[in-house]
Amino acid sequence: MKILLAEADRDFLSTFRQLLSLDGHEVVTVFDGTQVITKTTTEYFDLVVLSHQIPRIDCRTLILSLSEKNIPTIVLLDTKISSSILLSEILANAYLAFPFFPNELTELMNEVIKCYNSKETISISDIEIQPSEFKLCGKTPVTAQEIKLVETLIGNKPLDAKRAEPFINSLNNKLEQLGKKNRIKYITGDGYRLVTENG
């Protein structure tokens, strides 16, 4: 995988360039927003990992530009992943909050690429997710973590409730906005389940 790593902290760039290279990835590093635009215009990348506080160009503009170029994006946040971030119209394909462990980043990268390359549609009840487009019911943008959450629920797999919480809340909000009856709810003794609400 060819990855563009964009962060103002040079130590971060140096460390993660080496780590990701050891995993077999080709890593190009830049330290401001204008370089992101330049590089992605002249070179092909499978993925961009971008810090939210990247200087020169704001993150929102960069996400839009990368989305138009069809390049999947992971944004690294200094704050917690909150509903306000996950419910914004301009959405990256995944978010990861500092501080994180290297394996969290690599797992997320794999998840994003898996979604991007997926040719399938995830369907349950009247919900449809197109992973390759990161879209819910063809309209609402969703992140790779939200897609993974739905897959986990469909497969009845165990869920890390603490980490999944912001995504549970944002998904429920998005389903409500779309007028869908499905919600992710906690069932005593059974854990989180995707249920259909009455009425």
């Binding site: 971060f12 780590l19 050891l22 501080p99 919480e165 906690y186």
Partner: protein, 408 residues
């Protein structure tokens, strides 16, 4: 801090209101009481003079005027009050005697506002009383002599008018003073709290900055440790670095919660019972593994208006605290009494008996925390959440049982 300032202004204003009310009430009550006493003094003089000030009748009792005040004539201040020698000629009054058959006989009549017949009827209506005010500004006295009942009524309109003026001035002045004091307190409050608000803002900013400044380095240290392990294999040093980085990561995340622990923009009606059930359910396996019996008594459908995230976090901290420090059992109770929500956590403990409210202080751990991975922020978070909703939290140990009570 804004809340604290408004509370200060409110309580100070209440104090001003109470003080003003007490002071002005005392002044007015004393004033009206003294007017009543003066009026009673005059009716008493009349009663002792068989109901008449008429000296020509020979019944006027000069001795009635020989009261201490009349004797103490301090120059120009002497001729004041009911004992003044001018009293008999300045007071407007009437006295009627009423026999057993209810017939009223005029004893003395010196009044312009009523006719004699009106006064006679008036006197008859008062004969069962003793003394008091009648028709707003008239004072009366009833006394008996042989088989006759005497009713004396005096006009105190001129004496009462200044008292009513004082009352109206008190009310208006009091209202104006209240408004002025409110304005002064609001202005003083702003100045007084400005340094505190600034300090509070700086503290939050500091925590946010510390949180931010730690996050990146921790990520980089961790990543470099992994790089070293990948290049040279794991070692004791890298294991220790990993362990300490995990600890610091948890501390930074906790510090972050302290900075912005309560999002006032996300207040909604939440089902507290649901949250308790969910959190305790998720911890059931952990309690089992630790050999701790988990007892719960959660009243269903207890709702609360608050920020769901901070409430969930607080319940998790309470559960984590019990899991860490219980010996053989932990009990969680959620109940609602009228409009109060009571949360009780109880577990056996090795701590000595006593009040242990200090466990809610930041970075405070007790002797039973030795050897446990604990930095003393969890219950501090809980306390701050409780305070944000004007609740109370308390903790004590009684006969080897730890009791934590939250009242919301």
């Amino acid at each position: 801090m804004d809340k604290a300032r408004k509370k200060f202004v409110l309580y100070a204003e209440i104090a001003v209101f109470v003080l003003l009310t007490v002071l002005l009430s005392v002044i007015n009550i004393v004033n009206f009481t003294m007017v009543s006493e003066d009026a009673d003094r005059i009716t008493e003089i009349l009663a002792n003079s068989h109901g008449s000030f008429d000296r020509d009748k020979g019944e006027f009792n000069d001795h009635a005027l020989e009261e201490p005040f009349a004797k103490k004539r301090l120059g120009g201040f002497g001729n004041m009050g009911p004992g003044s020698p001018e009293t008999d000629s300045s007071v407007r009054y009437f006295t009627f005697s009423i026999d057993e058959n209810g017939n009223a006989q005029k004893v003395a009549f010196k009044m312009s506002a009523y006719t004699e017949s009106e006064a006679a009827e008036w006197a008859k209506s008062l004969q069962d009383g003793i003394t008091g005010w009648t028709r707003v500004n008239y004072r009366y006295r009833v006394y008996r002599d042989n088989k006759l009942t005497f009713v004396t009524v005096i006009d105190q309109g001129r004496e009462l008018l200044p008292s009513y003026r004082i009352l109206i001035i008190s009310l208006c002045g009091g209202a104006v003073l209240l408004v002025l004091s409110m304005l002064i307190l609001m202005s003083v409050g702003k100045k007084l709290f400005k340094p505190l608000e600034e300090s509070d803002r700086k503290q939050k900013q500091f925590i946010t900055n510390v949180e931010k400044e730690f996050k990146h380095p921790l990520t980089i240290i961790n990543a470099n440790t992994e790089l070293i392990e990948k290049q040279n294999g794991p070692s004791e040093c890298t294991n220790i670095i990993n362990k300490q980085v995990k600890k610091m990561t948890a501390l930074v995340k906790d510090l972050g919660s302290l900075g912005i622990f309560h999002d006032e923009n996300s207040i909604s009606k939440i089902n507290l019972s649901d949250i308790f059930v969910r959190v305790l359910d998720s911890k059931k396996d952990d309690f089992n593994k630790a050999g701790i019996e988990l007892r719960t008594s959660i009243k269903p459908d207890v709702t609360f208006a608050g920020d769901e995230n901070s409430i969930k976090r607080s319940v998790s901290e309470l559960a984590a605290n019990s899991l860490k420090y219980s010996v053989s059992y932990a009990s969680f109770t959620l109940e609602k009494n009228s409009d109060r929500i009571i949360i009780r956590i109880e577990n056996d403990t090795t701590l000595p008996d006593g009040n242990i409210d200090q466990i809610f202080d930041r970075f405070t751990t007790l002797e039973n925390a030795v050897g446990k991975d604990c930095i003393g922020l969890g219950l501090s978070y809980v306390k701050q959440t409780v305070n944000a909703y004007n609740g109370r939290a308390s903790a004590k140990v009684n006969n080897g049982v730890f009791n934590l009570k939250i009242d919301l």
